[in-house]
């Protein structure tokens, strides 16, 4: 996996949900400084149904350029070109980022009651495909993460299910 591409942008995404705690911490002064010190030059926020609006800034010298939007028909372009993705724990967002081969930090939504979502992120973090954080630890994660320790996620397909079904129904696999 490639190193921090210097002066690339960071994409913060909450998918179709609202996750103000993530947007607020990513927009905080401490987080901006951490991102700047890691060589990132700008941040794009996708805030979904959230009510917290991050500051827009044009990025004068030695400050971070920031912008935001709520929804887009497809996030693929934002993901493809990002130097770093900071995402909520939804499986759709996680796999879109992993398949694009972008470095990914998944942030747990502590406010959710049944937080089964983190199961997936923690499992993938154990295999070193991504980093896990919570709103409280995000700044620390950004400061200390070693992007070269990440392993490229080996994308899989539903082929095994298709074959199992075909076999069960008695189709010979031509």
């Amino acid at each position: 996996m490639e190193r921090d591409s210097t002066r690339g942008y960071v994409f913060v995404t909450v998918g179709t949900t609202s996750f103000d705690a993530l947007v607020r911490i990513a927009d905080s002064r401490a987080c901006r400084e951490a991102l700047l010190s890691r060589g990132y030059s700008s941040v794009v926020f996708q805030i979904g149904r959230g009510s917290y609006i991050p500051q827009k800034s044009t990025g004068d010298e030695d400050s971070l350029k920031t912008n935001y939007f709520t929804f887009a028909p497809s996030l693929a372009d934002f993901i493809k070109n990002a130097a770093l993705i900071i995402s909520h724990a939804g499986s759709g967002s996680i796999f879109e980022a992993l398949r694009a081969g972008r470095p990914l930090v998944v942030v747990a939504n502590d406010a959710l009651m049944d937080n089964h979502q983190m199961e997936l992120a923690e499992e993938l973090a154990e295999s070193k495909y991504l980093f896990c954080a919570s709103p409280g630890t995000l700044v620390n994660t950004i400061t200390t993460m070693d992007l070269s320790s990440l392993i490229r996620y080996p994308a899989s397909t539903p082929l095994a299910v298709v074959q199992a079904l075909d076999q069960f129904l008695g189709f010979s696999n031509q």
């Binding site: 179709t16 939804g90 499986s91 759709g92 796999f95 398949r99 089964h116 979502q117 199961e119 997936l120 923690e122 499992e123 994308a155 899989s156 397909t157 539903p158 082929l159 095994a160 299910v161 298709v162 199992a164 079904l165 075909d166 069960f168 129904l169 008695g170 189709f171």
Partner: protein
């Protein structure tokens, strides 16, 4: 006269009990009538969001002629899933692989997030009745689902179709990739009730906990 009615009722009851037992016994076995068919009418339940994405990914890899005609079902409140399915079907037509027109149906959702207990009872009943109506009208050979709760009425209706008629229905559940250590509530119910013919999980930890499930590695 009274004796005859009683006798008739007992006969129907016994047949139903036998059918019920047979349906349970034959779960997970491919039956002879299946083997002679060349294509299977397939009912695909789209559960919204990540569930829909995973399911359509799977459908795109199925043989379009074997698994046809296809009928897609999504919750009434889900306005994205059916149009995504439609886009997938259009791509099949462009590949000249689709010979049947797909159908798209909407189902009442049993329960919305945050709904109260009392109104849940009423809406679950409506959802169940609607599920029965859809399954009995489509009479599929195969039901494909991967949660969440929307697929429960469909699966129960599919099982009833097995019990009541001589129509065979192969019922398939694929647990979502997001479930690593624990089954979802829907998955757990379907597993415990032994309703499904094929029950797939995507993580080895789940296979260890639920030995009747089939481990198929990650779909994504």
């Amino acid at each position: 006269m009274k004796m005859e009615v009683q006798w008739l009722l007992w006969t129907i009851f016994s047949i139903l009990v036998c059918r019920f037992g047979f349906a349970l016994w034959s779960r997970g076995r491919a039956l002879a009538p299946c083997l002679s068919k060349r294509s299977f009418s397939t009912l695909i339940v789209l559960g919204s969001g990540g569930h829909t994405a995973e399911m359509l990914d799977l459908v795109s890899m199925l043989n379009h002629e074997r698994y046809s005609p296809r009928c897609y079902v999504a919750a009434l409140t889900d306005n994205m899933s059916l149009s995504k399915a439609q886009r997938l079907e259009e791509s099949f037509i462009q590949q000249a692989a689709a010979n049947h027109k797909a159908r798209y149906l909407q189902i009442y959702r049993s329960r919305e997030v945050g709904q109260s207990y009392l109104t849940s009872m009423a809406t679950t009943t409506i959802g169940m009745a609607h599920g029965l109506w859809i399954v009995f009208r489509v009479r599929p050979d195969i039901i494909l689902c991967n949660g969440p709760g929307t697929c429960l009425p469909i699966c129960i209706a599919g099982f009833l179709l097995k019990v009541l008629s001589f129509k065979w229905v192969v019922m398939v559940y694929i647990e979502s990739i997001a479930r690593v250590r624990k089954l979802s509530l829907t998955g757990l119910l379907l597993y415990k009730l032994c309703l499904m013919d094929q029950f797939f999980v995507q993580w080895p930890k789940l296979k260890n906990k639920f030995p009747r499930a089939q481990y198929v590695d990650r779909l994504m």
